[in-house]
Structure formats: C-alpha cells, structure tokens
Point group: none
C-alpha cells in the first residue's frame, strides 16, 4: 500500500502546486477547479477526493506557504551565528519574509493578511507535510533562549505580525504610502518599541 499512498500524496501535492501557481498568477476568484485539475493533470472528479472545495484548498495552501516563508527565514537565520539576540533574530526573520514578499509580489496577495494566522493556527489545523517543524515551536524555543523574558509573548508577536503584514501590503504592491524600503526603518523601530513594551 506504500506505493498507492505515495501516488495519492503525489496527486495531492500536484493539485496544491497547480492551485498555488494559478491563484498567484490569475487570482483566486479567476481560477476555476477546471483550471486546477487541467494544470495538475488529473480528472475533475479527483479534485473532490482530496479537497472539499476551492476554499478548502486555499486554506491548505496558505498554511503550507506561510509555514514555508517562516522556515525559509529561519533557515537563513541559522547561517548567521552572530545573531544571538532574540529581538535581532525576530527582526532578521521579519526582514527576510519582507524580502521574500518583494521578490514575489504574488505571495503578498495570498499570505499577507494571513501571516499571524499562519503563525498561530497553522500547526493546529493542517499537517500537509507531517514532518515539517512547527513555526510556533520554533518561536517558543527562540524565546526560551532569549536574554529577557516577555509578558504575553504570543500577543506581542500577534501585534508585530499584524503591523508588519498590514503595513507592508500596500507598500509592496503599490509603493503606498511609501515604498517598502522607505517603510522598513519606521516599521523596525516600532517593532523594537513593542519589544520594549513587553520586556519584563
């Protein structure tokens, strides 16, 4: 049964990949199930064996991709052994994520409004890649090694992520009210102040 399970997983991933590429290129509402299955090379009925509907596959996709951008950033952080300070580490991750957004504007459309949701809910609802590390677990481990302790560290992170994702959306996509590069110093200073506000 291993082979069959493997094939099933392949179909699932193929559908997710096709949906992702179509959603970010053509937009969610302009992508039909037909488009997805055509791109994935499976039959229409097959879609419904794996996902309830278009909203279902989008949710899975957001989880998956949100996880990915966090992990990409965290992986990059590992190559900077000199960044030992918790707050600097978080800022590095944020900066890396914003750079991913700049490099791929379509990611913003899919993820931006769901960053904090991806951060907190991700590991609870979906396990598309069962072996993928949990963002939240990583955050807790980083916290435990931090120089300071923080009150309500989840709420602190929630505020930071909402600030980041909300304000970067227009900056990345429309350079409004300023470009992302102009925005960054303001943003990072505010993040530092939020840290200060929660430091014990």
């Amino acid at each position: 049964m291993n082979k069959i399970d493997y094939n099933k997983q392949q179909k699932r991933i193929s559908l997710l990949d096709s949906a992702f590429s179509l959603f970010i290129n053509n937009g969610f509402h302009k992508t039909s199930i037909s488009d997805i299955v055509k791109d994935a090379g499976v039959a229409k009925g097959t879609f419904y064996l794996y996902f309830k509907d278009k909203y279902d596959i989008r949710n899975h996709l957001i989880s998956r991709k949100a996880n990915q951008v966090f992990l990409n950033a965290y992986t990059a952080l590992q190559t900077h052994a000199e960044k030992t300070d918790f707050e600097e580490q978080v800022l590095f991750i944020i900066d890396h994520i914003l750079n991913q957004f700049t490099a791929n504007h379509n990611l913003v459309t899919l993820l931006s409004k769901h960053l904090s949701w991806g951060f907190f809910k991700n590991f609870l609802l979906f396990t598309p890649e069962p072996d993928a590390p949990s963002i939240f677990a990583i955050y807790e481990s980083m916290l435990s090694k931090a120089q300071y302790a923080y009150r309500s560290p989840e709420l602190m992170m929630y505020l930071i992520l909402e600030l980041i994702s909300g304000s970067s959306y227009n900056a990345v996509l429309y350079d409004q009210p300023v470009s992302l590069n102009e925005l960054k110093p303001h943003l990072y200073q505010t993040v530092r102040q939020i840290f200060g506000q929660y430091r014990i």
Copy 2:
C-alpha cells in the same frame, strides 16, 4: 430637472444601501447583482446606469462607510470638550471605531482591511456625497492644534491604522488570539508608543 436628479440620487442611494446590507449579511461573492436590484426595487439594467460592476459599487461602498465610521467617531468627539490633547483625541476616535466594529461585526468584514485606504484615498477617488467633510482634512486640522509636532504624521497614522485594523479583525470576529476588550489595552499602549516615537 430637479425632480429627475433627485430621483436618480434616490436610486443610487437605494442601490448602495441594498448592496451594503447584502454584502455584510451574505458576503460579497455570494451577493449577485440580481440580489441587489431586487432588494433595491429597481430593474437590473438600472444598476449599470449607476455602477460599472459589482466591484465598482463595493469600492464606492467602502469609501462611503469608511468615511462614515470616521465621521461618527469625530462627531462623538465633539461632545467631549475636555479631550483637548491630540493623542487622546486620536485614541478616542480609534476606540469609537472599534466600538462600532463590535456593535456591527459586518462592518469589520467590509472595512477592516481598508481603513487606512479609506483614510488616505477616500476623498481623492470618490465623492458620493459631495458635501461630506474629508477625513484627511479633519486629521490635518487636529494636527495643527496639537501640543507637539510630529515627524511624518501620515506615515505615523498609516502604521497606527494598519496595526489597529489588522489586529482587531480576528479579535472582533473570532475572539482570537484574545477578545477585543483584552486586546485594547495592549493596542492603545502600542499606539501611545508610536506617538512617542514620532513626536518631535
């Protein structure tokens, strides 16, 4: 021609009202033009005399309603003559808007992600009610009477509005990660710090 123009304005407003009520009750994508015109009591073709398509009426609606919640808050502020401090005034307005969101969850769905857009762009793009005061002009007048001066006051407001609208969305609709009432003190303290950061 006065009577005709009056009737036209009535039709326009009727369509906007119907669309608003249907969008917030059933959602934008589940509301059809048919639904709107049926509710407004006009013929289908009439819709297209006033709006280009469903997206067009939504944009007008967002402008209109964003303006309204700001103005509601500002009007309420007038009854508090004791609030003379600029920062306290802004916090009062924010609090009032969040209370409007709490009272009408559907407003959140429509406006939350567009608050800052409504704040800055509103008066430029749409003038559905030509005599309505501009939010932005009000903000500038408040600024001019403030005790302190602020660097980049627009950017400051942008950060505040994105923080507020982003973080209140889940709190209002899903009590996540905490209820709005639990969130408010955190939020307002962060806003105060942002003020501090921009004060000259």
Copy 3:
C-alpha cells in the same frame, strides 16, 4: 416650417451617416442603437421618430449607398466621351464599382449581396434624396442609345450583377479563390458573352 423640416432632415442624415460608419467599421450586429445615437449626437428616443428599427435604417442605407456607387461610376463615365458603346459603358461602370469596393472593403460587406436589389428596387422603395436620379432610369436611357437591342434587358442585367457581386465578394475580401485583379479578365469576358447571348 422650412427651418424645422431642414433640421429634421439633418437629424435623419446624421443618423444615416453614423449608422453607415458604424456598420462598416464594427459590423451590423455589433452596432447598437445606442452606438448610433451617441455618434449622431441625438437622444435614443429620437431614433424611433425616424426609423422603425435597426433593420429599417440598414435598408435605407443600402439603397442610399448602392445608388451612390452606381452614380459615382456613371459620373466618372461622363468624363469618357469616347466610350459610346453600350457594352463598353456597362463594363466601365462595373469596373468602377469594383474599384470602389477595393478602395473600401467595408462597402463590399454592406452592398455586395444587394447590388442587384439596389439596382432594381431602389427607386421604388426609398427616396432618401428625392432629387437623386434613378439608376434604373439611367440604365434605360443608356439602353435606348445602344447600338443593338437586347432581349430581357433587366434579366440580363440581373444575371450580370449577381455574377459580379457574388464572385467579387470573396476576391475582394479574402483574395479567394484569386485576387480581384486576377478575377477581372475572367469576369469581364463572361459578361461580354452574356451580352452576346442577349443581343438581338
């Protein structure tokens, strides 16, 4: 009342001109009454004061334009005093009309299938310009001065016109089965033979 009648005639002509230009540029079925009145600068209801519907204005237009291409050709013929032979005169007219078609492909679309109809029916049904000479009367006058007499001269002309218009349609528009220039010698030889067949 002369002035009013003049204004009315102006509106009528304006509508005809707009309809012509739109029909030949965008096609009959892709032109709406709205388009016509917008282009003509009159109100929608006004259209219905002058024409029954879109088909009505098209018929008037075909008459008008068919008359015009014939008269253009006939006028040009007047400058060739040396062409005294009836058959040569008809061939000259045909050639001139085909050249008008080549110069303005859109004329073909509108008129080609109606050439003989324009020739025979024109003066009976429509009198858009009451003082315009009748094509048919011109033909009869040319006939009366001809060297030979012809059996069934109307039927002869009918066959010639159908042959010309039918075969030139694809040649002008699509160079199919050959270009108009390649087709012409074949066509004119056949026309000469039809003359021969009807000569008494």
Copy 4:
C-alpha cells in the same frame, strides 16, 4: 468507451439537427442557444462541450448541409447512366440543387451565399462525418472523365456557382425578378457559355 463515444456523437448530431431546424425556421439571429439545447433535449452547458459558440455550430452546419445537397445531387446523377457528358452532368447537378432549394426554401437562406465556399473549403475545414466523400474530389474525378479539357477549372466552377447561387436567391425566395422556373433557361444557357469560354 464505445458506448460513451456513441452517446457523444448522438448528442452532437442532435444539437446540429436542432440548430438546423431552428436556424431555417426562425433565422440565425432569432435562435438562441437556449432554444437549441431545449430542442435537442440537453443541458445548456452541454452545448459548449461540443461547439465554441453559435457561429461555430452554424459553420459546421453549413459545411454539413452544403455537402449534403451536393451529394444528394451526385447520388441522383448516378441513376442517369445516359448522362455521360461532363457539362450535362454539371447542369444536372445544378438543376438538382436548385430543385432542393425550391423544395426547401430554408436551405436557400442557410446555404445560398455559401455554395462555392462549401464546394471548395468544405473538406478542408470540417469533417463532421469523417467518411463523407469530398465534393471537390468528385468534381475532379468528373473532370478527368470529361470529353474536353478546361482552362482554370476551379475558377470556372467558382463563376458558375456564384452566378447560380446569387441569382437563384431572390428567384426562389421572392420570385424576383422572375420565378426560378422562368430564370432557369437563362441561367443554364449562360452556364453553357461559360463552359464554352473555358473549353480548351
């Protein structure tokens, strides 16, 4: 899969048959896709599985029917073994087609302007019935057995077909300028002359 393919072919033919009957009875522009699918007993969406749009099904129909009238005539010719002369054979076929037009006026509306197109292009563009013999191939085989050779035999046939279809249109539908029966002798004599003109 044989059964499925058979059902598909049935649906296709059913749609073509319904479209034909509606186009010729009510006219192309007054026939809606709704009418066609209702008549064919299939769902609206099914139409779009088989044809791109209304123009697509009309083109297929013209091909199909043009082929049919030619083949009907050719089949009838087979029962007249005494007709061995090429020119007589062609005249027989023409006469047979005109009789089909007389018997079914609606055929004229659909086909008349497309006879030569059906003759030449038919077999290139559409193969609704893959096993149907090509009109053009039949013509070439008839030519090869002819007593005489002809210059430009395709162009010759083009002129004949355009003459026939153009002049018969008004005669069949409106008895204008004369009835088809009165027209025929004129027509056939002209066709004979065209033969003479191209005979080598």
